[in-house]
Symmetry: D2
């Protein structure tokens, strides 16, 4: 296992020092528990303002919990959520939604991780049929699982479509900062089209903290009870708040995301043209998806850490983070080149 900078995931990175410093500052003295404190009030108010949220902000421990809490605001027991087949909520949360919400997930195949009004419309045929779970919410990810971003225009189209169809829209924003950095827009602009979304701190330089942002005021009743019931109410909430305050100060969240995105772009540029390496998705965040020959992957993994995304297509995912350096990227890109099959496809099995 490499001691080098990993390209496996942005959660292999540590926390930003500003985050740890703010936690240390929050440590002084007695503070009321369960969020009834000034640190939490300040963090939540700041996030609410950033998003222009009419509802409120609720801090939780991790991304799975943020998704489940967010979706739980939108569904009655017999209602279902439409989402991309590869959504984290669908494939990477060990059935948490089914267990905790008891809701059906209506998965839609999509090559770039994005839903469209047409794709959603294709799952609405069951409405009113008593034998079918009733589609009531749509869940997207911004950034998507494939590293792509919805444009504001695409988001607007989804928002308009959902509203016209009586559907609620949720956005998994585990990497929302990276999307804002890519789009060059405010968080409020992204959030303006959705009902509820998460704002990820963890992958952006926190120790472990996510915010559920409730845009629509009518969804507020019950959120705090649902968070508690879903086992996400921190007793010493000040430390979750402090993490966000650390990220919010001087827009560290945006600087971190911008840097990580830049590193992904630098990596993509650095491997372009390497024989047998094919970029597979537009690089719109801090992820690079590429197809490599299996033997190439193997050689590269002997020295560097990253995930094979799809065995069948020999696709790998390279993630950068706020603390990835240009030197890290350049060394890794050099390794990609050096381990490449010299243009010879003969070794390909």
């Amino acid at each position: 296992m490499a001691t080098r900078k990993s390209f496996a995931s942005d959660n292999h990175a540590g926390a930003h020092e500003a985050v740890l410093r703010m936690m240390a500052r929050a440590n002084a003295g007695d503070v009321a528990s369960y969020g009834d404190d000034a640190w939490t009030e300040r963090a939540c108010a700041s996030i609410q303002e950033l998003f222009g949220a009419s509802g409120g902000v609720f801090l939780v421990f991790n991304g799975t919990a943020a998704n489940v809490l967010g979706i739980s605001l939108l569904l009655r027991p017999y209602e279902a959520v439409i989402l991309p087949e590869g959504a984290h909520l669908n494939v990477d949360e060990c059935g948490a939604a089914e267990r905790v919400l008891g809701s059906k997930l209506l998965a839609v195949p999509t090559p770039d991780g994005k839903l469209t009004p047409a794709l959603i419309a294709g799952r609405l045929g069951d409405r009113g049929d008593v034998h079918r779970a009733q589609p009531r919410a749509v869940a997207i990810s911004q950034v998507t699982e494939r590293g792509t971003c919805y444009t504001l225009e695409e988001l607007r189209a989804l928002g308009v479509f959902c509203r016209s169809e009586g559907l609620r829209l949720y956005a998994d924003g585990a990497r929302l900062a990276n999307a804002a950095a890519w789009l060059g827009c405010s968080l409020a602009e992204i959030a303006g089209f959705v009902d509820v979304l998460s704002f990820g701190g963890t992958k952006n330089g926190a120790v472990g903290a996510e915010a559920v942002v409730v845009m629509a005021e009518d969804l507020m009743p019950g959120v705090s009870f649902l968070r508690k019931q879903q086992m996400q109410l921190a007793s010493k909430m000040r430390y979750l708040a402090a993490q966000f305050l650390g990220l919010l100060e001087d827009r560290l969240w945006l600087r971190n995301a911008t840097h990580a995105n830049l590193m992904a772009r630098r990596l993509a540029d650095g491997v372009r043209g390497v024989p047998g390496v094919e970029l597979r998705q537009a690089v719109e965040s801090n992820a690079v998806f590429a197809a490599l020959e299996p033997a190439h992957i193997e050689r590269l993994q002997s020295e560097w850490e990253f995930h094979v995304w799809d065995d069948a297509t020999h696709e790998v995912r390279w993630m950068t983070a706020f603390d990835t350096t240009e030197a890290d990227v350049d060394a890794f890109a050099a390794a990609v080149r050096m381990t490449a099959p010299n243009g010879s496809r003969a070794s390909f099995t």
Copy 2:
């Protein structure tokens, strides 16, 4: 709201500096996520050794989650858990167990927060009756909700009884350190009679971290999946681990608990004999339960923060923590005396 040391809860305290220091140390460099790292390995191995656990150790974010995960190892869907009516799991977790586990809680009234074999036996009559949820596990708290501790003899009796009845035994150890400090025994001695228990870090000086300790090896299959499904798998697990490593170093956990217990005892001693103040439970941990006249409570709360435990009986709960000082206690005890009804019961309504 007082800026003075609160006696409301041990989770009003901050984190111990050694905990924060260890988190800062853990911050260096890339580390594998989801617990596949050396920090987690070391913390879990240390805890497992402390408890003499044949199974394993699983870190989670908070006490509610630890209880739900722990209980989830013990029950099939139609099985129920017997617990004291006032158990945190029953009254203070917003129905998390019912929601996440779908299990019935069989609550038993008990004045001092403790279950006994006889009390448990009283709930076993429904066994085999197809209309009744089947008792399969027993959940106790050590320290109990009322600040009392099971003696090792009582634990042994419960363990023997449960085994003989085919029941599994779970212990909510949110304040397990305080119990060990009070009993003057090892964690392994306490844990030897149960199947699963939690080991609380948060109230003992952590930022927010609890461990689920699986004593019985046959309960291990599936725990890691259940933790993930229950939304308690930290991506940057190293920081949960570091908190425990901070507490484990030089037995800080025991020193913290011993000190908190001592402060509670000092407080109990300090208010003994104050007119109208009646201690209501044996002081065996870091909690003091006392009955006061309502007007006395009111006067005291104008300056000091603490919870009224039971309105009907005018009972209050005073909690100490690892960072409560002798001066804090003495000042508070003095305030209790000064606001006392001068021996005149006339004001009592």
Copy 3:
């Protein structure tokens, strides 16, 4: 085991012949499935009219299902239902409510099976406390588990109290016909104070059919989906409908209930004054609760079938049904007398 008429339960009785005849009539020809047929339309419209329900009527298979479906209309996931400790929903449905609804049941001890505004008020203290499941509905049984009936005045008081407290009121009407017969009032008069209730067919002479009556129109959205999701949508619904049509014709439901009640009263009268036999509840339906000496119970059970309700208090329950005859009652009462301890309490242990 006796081949004599059982006094164990009103579900030991068969179905009334009029019910079977109506099922046979419904058997002719093709009929649309899942309730989209004329039989179902007629049965539901008739029941709706009988109850003066603004909402609608939904047929299900059994009483547990009726209770769970009814309660599911009233609660969000973090909300709880207040009910008598001995309620069928709480003790005799194997945790179905916890499993299917994921909701917490807040059980209140009550000697005669009845809730009062005061008893309910005692469980409302947790409102607004984020750690507590939020009381949102009240569930009563009419007839109660102890064979008693709420008077219309008591129902009105409960209804007014619930409305004033923002609570919804559900009534388990597995034996609602018996209550109407006892009170000498219409079903609409009973139902006027509740939001949802069940109307039991099974114990009243059906093969197996219960109706969920939704009084409040605002609760209607989703009921049909919830019934399907809760596995209670009959494909050949006409046969559930036909059972009710059989019971509704010439008010058979009321005649059956009146007769069963009369038989219980006759039995109570027949055993009054028998040495060692003490009636324990007012006989207001088709149940007689009595305390007997253990040896007396044993002698009686060697020939007759009935349930011991409470081992500790030697209390038994004797149920009559629509098909219990005066001769059955007289023979059983004679047996009670003949097996009585001759006035000698010496044998009582």
Copy 4:
């Protein structure tokens, strides 16, 4: 709406007279409730013998419930079931499995409704990955949703594969009788390769009754509690039992199924060669799937009742039942011919 024999569903048919007669016979006298009676004992023993089941037999009200109960025996909370995308359990039960079991369904696209070892293998890649619900069971339908039947050889292959992979196999047998009739084999031969299956009575001529057959003895603990908890325990169980006894007598179940299959085959033969009518699945049970021009469908539906299965492909489903007559089929086939587009494809839009 036609008063003619419907080809919409086999649950539009009534009950066979022998079933009603047996229910009437079962009506005599007092009988113990909840299945503790001779009728139930006899029905369950007979079914168990027919299937050669080492476990036991449990009667429930409908097919959805049978599927959910059956699957509930096979999964722990974090485990998932692999099934065909079009499975009833997946699309036609309004999310009952997700709600009641909390389990993830792993849906596999399949053109003819059948799973194969290769298709199952394709979903096993997530094993051991803590972020993924763990595949633990496979659910097939025999007859499938598309009217096709697994051969015994195919079943054996599935059974062997599942066993070798540590997977449990469930079969939805809502139309199992039709499969046995088609394959010309015993129920035991079909059941020999699965762990649990349902045996449908309703579509075969019952009023409404399904049996869950537990083949594997190790799955027995808890089934009766799960049935109760899942709201499927009939109080007057004798009437569910009587329905099956009616179907079992003189192998009525097989005669009914054989006849229904024959009628489907007659229909398929009758429409073969009609211009614009294309049979879409092998006719191996009592269903005929055909693609028709939309205008043709419309003309035909103005007189006859049946379902459009897939709007996109203009595919319809024609079901026969035990009471479909040759005259019904011939009249319908004639209507198909008479409403056909005269070989002219011009009208096709």
